[in-house]
C-alpha cells in the first residue's frame, strides 16, 4: 500500500468506520479474536468466540470468517462486519486447524483428539466425509488445483495425502517428530511440512511424494532443542518463506529456491503462526507466551512493533478493506 493511500485511510478512519485492512488473531485462552488495523497497527476490535479458538480462515469473498473453537467442538461462522456468530458447523471433536478448499465451499478440518480429518460442506452444513489419519492431526493444506489435501499428524509423524475426489489416503510420508504445519508451494509442485520437535522443514515433490530437501535451523545462542519450527508463510512468488521457530523466539527467513536460511528475526515469546498484509510488506506473527503480535518489516527483515492482544494468540488471518 502506498503512503498516500495509507494517509487517506488513516484520515478516513478518524471520521468514519474503519476502512483499513485487518489482521484477525484468535486468542486461545481468552476465547476472543483481536482485530488489528494494518495501517495504525493497533487492535481496533475484539469479539467473543467459542472455547479455545485456534484455526481461523476467511471465505474467498471475506464475507465470512471460520473459527475453530476447539473446546466447543465446533467451527464457528462469524460475520466479520459485526462479530456476530451466524451459526456453528459440525466439525468433529476438537477441531484445531483447517483449510478451505479452492471451491470456497468445503472445509478440511483436523480433529486433534480423534485422529480424524473431517470434511464439511459449508453450504449444506453437513459432514461430507471423515478420514482416519494418524494420532493428533494438526497441519492442513490443500493443493491449488484442489485435488490433494494434506493432514499432518503430530504423534504419528506423517503427512497424510488425501485424494479430495474419493476422500481416501493415497500416500503417507514420514517426517521428523511432531509435524505442525503444511503448505503447498510453487504452484502446487512442492509440499512443505514443519516438524516442531525434529526442528526441520521437509520439502516434498508433490508428483512423487518423495523428499526433495530438508531444511534445518541454527539460531545463535539458542539450544537446538528449542528451535522448533511451527507456522510458515511464503512471500510473493514463493521467493522467501518466513518460518516461526516457537520457543526460540525467532522467525527464520528461508530462501525458497535454494532452501538456505538467510536470516533470523527476534520476535515475541513462543512464536506460532502468522499472516501477511495485502502487499506482503508486513508480517504479523502470533506469540503465544508473551500474548502479543510482532509486526515484521519484510523488506528490512526486522521487527517493527509488538501489539498486545489476548492471552495465548494462536492463529492469524488477513482481511482486506471491505
Amino acid at each position: 500500500m502506498n503512503k498516500l493511500t495509507a494517509a487517506l485511510l488513516c484520515g478516513a478512519s478518524l471520521t468514519g468506520p474503519a476502512l483499513a485492512d485487518e489482521i484477525w488473531v484468535t486468542n486461545e485462552k481468552d476465547d476472543t479474536v483481536s482485530v488489528i488495523d494494518t495501517d495504525t497497527l493497533e487492535v481496533v476490535r475484539s469479539y467473543p468466540t467459542g472455547e479455545r479458538p485456534r484455526g481461523i480462515i476467511f471465505s474467498k469473498d471475506y464475507s465470512r470468517v471460520y473459527i475453530c473453537a476447539s473446546d466447543s467442538d465446533a467451527v464457528q461462522v462469524m460475520d466479520p462486519e459485526t462479530g456476530e456468530i451466524l451459526h456453528d458447523l459440525p466439525s468433529g471433536e476438537d477441531p484445531e486447524q483447517f483449510v478451505l478448499h479452492p471451491d470456497d465451499r468445503h472445509l478440511y478440518i483436523a480433529n486433534e483428539d480423534d485422529a480424524i480429518t473431517t470434511v464439511v460442506d459449508t453450504q449444506t452444513r453437513k459432514v461430507v466425509a471423515q478420514i482416519d489419519v494418524g494420532v493428533e492431526p494438526e497441519g492442513m493444506a490443500v493443493s491449488p488445483d484442489g485435488k490433494i489435501a494434506i493432514t499432518t499428524s503430530e504423534t504419528t509423524n506423517m503427512a497424510h495425502w488425501i485424494d479430495t475426489e474419493s476422500h481416501t489416503l493415497f500416500a503417507n510420508t514420514l517426517v521428523d517428530s511432531r509435524p505442525r504445519h503444511a503448505e503447498f508451494a510453487k504452484d502446487g509442485t512442492e509440499l512443505w511440512v514443519s516438524s516442531e520437535i525434529g526442528g526441520t522443514i521437509t520439502v516434498f515433490d508433490v508428483t512423487t511424494q518423495q523428499e526433495l530437501h530438508k531444511i534445518t535451523f541454527d539460531v545463535k545462542g539458542v539450544h537446538p532443542d528449542r528451535v522448533q519450527p511451527v507456522g510458515f508463510e511464503f512471500t510473493e512468488g514463493d521467493r522467501l518463506a518466513f518460518v516461526a521457530l516457537g520457543p526460540s523466539n525467532h522467525v527464520a527467513v528461508v530462501n525458497a529456491q535454494t532452501y538456505e536460511v538467510e536470516d533470523y528475526i527476534l520476535v515475541g515469546r513462543r512464536v506460532w503462526h502468522m499472516a501477511f498484509n495485502a502487499d506482503r510488506s508486513l508480517l504479523f506473527t502470533t506469540n503465544g507466551v508473551s500474548g502479543d503480535v510482532t509486526v515484521i518489516d519484510v523488506a528490512k527483515r526486522e521487527a517493527r512493533k509488538s501489539i498486545k492482544v489476548g492471552r495465548f494468540p494462536w492463529g492469524a488471518a488477513f482481511r482486506p478493506t471491505p
Binding site: 486433534e112 483428539d113 493428533e136 504419528t156 514420514l174 520437535i197 512423487t208 523428499e211 534445518t216 532443542d225
Partner: protein, 391 residues
Amino acid sequence: MRNRFFNSWLATVLGMLLAAGAQAETVMKIGYLKVDTPRPPVLSNLDPVPEDLGLAGARTGLEDNATTGRFLGQTYTLIEDRVPEGGDAIAAAKAMLAQTPFVLLDAPGRTQLAIADLKEAQGALLFNASSGETALRSENCRANLLHSLPSDAMRTDALAQVLMQKRWTDLVLIAGTHPEDLAYVEALRRSLTKFGLKLSDEKTWAFDADMRRNAAQEVPLFTQDFGDYDALIVADELGDFGRYILYNTWQARPVVGSEGLSAVAWSPVMEQWGAAQLQSRFTKAAGRAMMPRDYAAWAAVRTLGEAVTRLDSSDPASLRGYILSETFELAGFKGRPMTYRSWNGQLRQPIAVVHPRAMVAQAPLEGFLHRVNELDTLGLDEPESKCEAFE
C-alpha cells in the same frame, strides 16, 4: 546432533517401500509385567493407588503406536501379565520373554535386576517403568534394561534447581522410614551437595498417630525446634504423613519434596506443548488422570513404536542400537525432544516442578548450563554414573 544423512537415507528406503506397495508386515508384541508388592498402610485413604497404574499408560502408548502402524503395515499388541504378592515373578518373566523380547517391567528394582539377568533375557530389551532407584542407572545397571521413568536423582536435581533459583538455600528435612523414603533422601543429599544448598536440620517421622485428628497440634510442635529456615523438604514417597505437614509448620514456610512443591515425570496439571492432548486421550481411555508411572510406561511403548516406525524392523538389537543413537528422538509433550543416555540407558527428559493445581517450573531451568545437553544437568551425568554395561 541429529544425523541428517541417516534420516534422508531412512526416508528414501521407507519411501521406496511405500511406493512399491511392498509393505513388510512388522508385528510388534510388547509385554507389560506388573509385580504386585505389599503396600504399607498410609494415614489417609483419600488417594487410592489405581489398579491399572502404569498399565493404562502402556495401553495409551500402544494405541498411539497402532494408529501409526496402520499406515506402515506394522501391528502392535500388548501382552499383559500381573504377578500377585508372593507370586513367582521370575517364572512369569520367563513365560513373557518366551513370547516377546520387548518387556516393560513394573516391579521393584531388585526384581527387575533378577529378570534382566535371566538367560532368557539376554538379547531382550527391557524397560524399567516403575523404579526411580539411582543405583539401577549406576553400579547396578544392565545393558538390556532401559529406564523411561526418571531416576530419583533427576527429580531431586530438578527440585534443587528450583530451590536455587528461588534462593531457598537454607533447608530442613522430615523423612519417613520406608526404603523409598530413604532412597529419596539419599538422592536429595546428592542434589543438595551438587547445587550447593544447605541442609540445616533433619528429623525422622516415626509417629503412629492418626494425623487426621491431630495434625494441627502435632506438627507445629514437631517443627518448632527447626528454628528459622527457607523451605521444609518432606521425604514421604508413599504419601503417608506428608499431606499433614502443609500449613501446620511452626514457621510459615513452603513445603517441598514428596509433598507440596514436587518434581515429577508427569502431572495432571501439565497442559503445554500439546500435553493437553495426551492428557485427554489418556483420561478418555482410563477414566482417570495420568500419573508419572503411566507416563513412563507410555514413553517406553512409544519409544519402541518410534524406533519401529523409523527402522521398519522388530529386531531387538537393531532397535536398541537405534534407540541409544543420536538419531533417535521421542516427542514426549514436554517441549523438547527426548533421547536416551548412551552411558546408562536413562530417558533424558524435562522434569516438571508442580503443586497440585499448576506447574511452577520445568527443569532444566534457564541458567543451568551443560556442555552437551542441558537435560544432563538432571540426574547422573556421564562422569558420575558408575554404569559400565553400556559402551
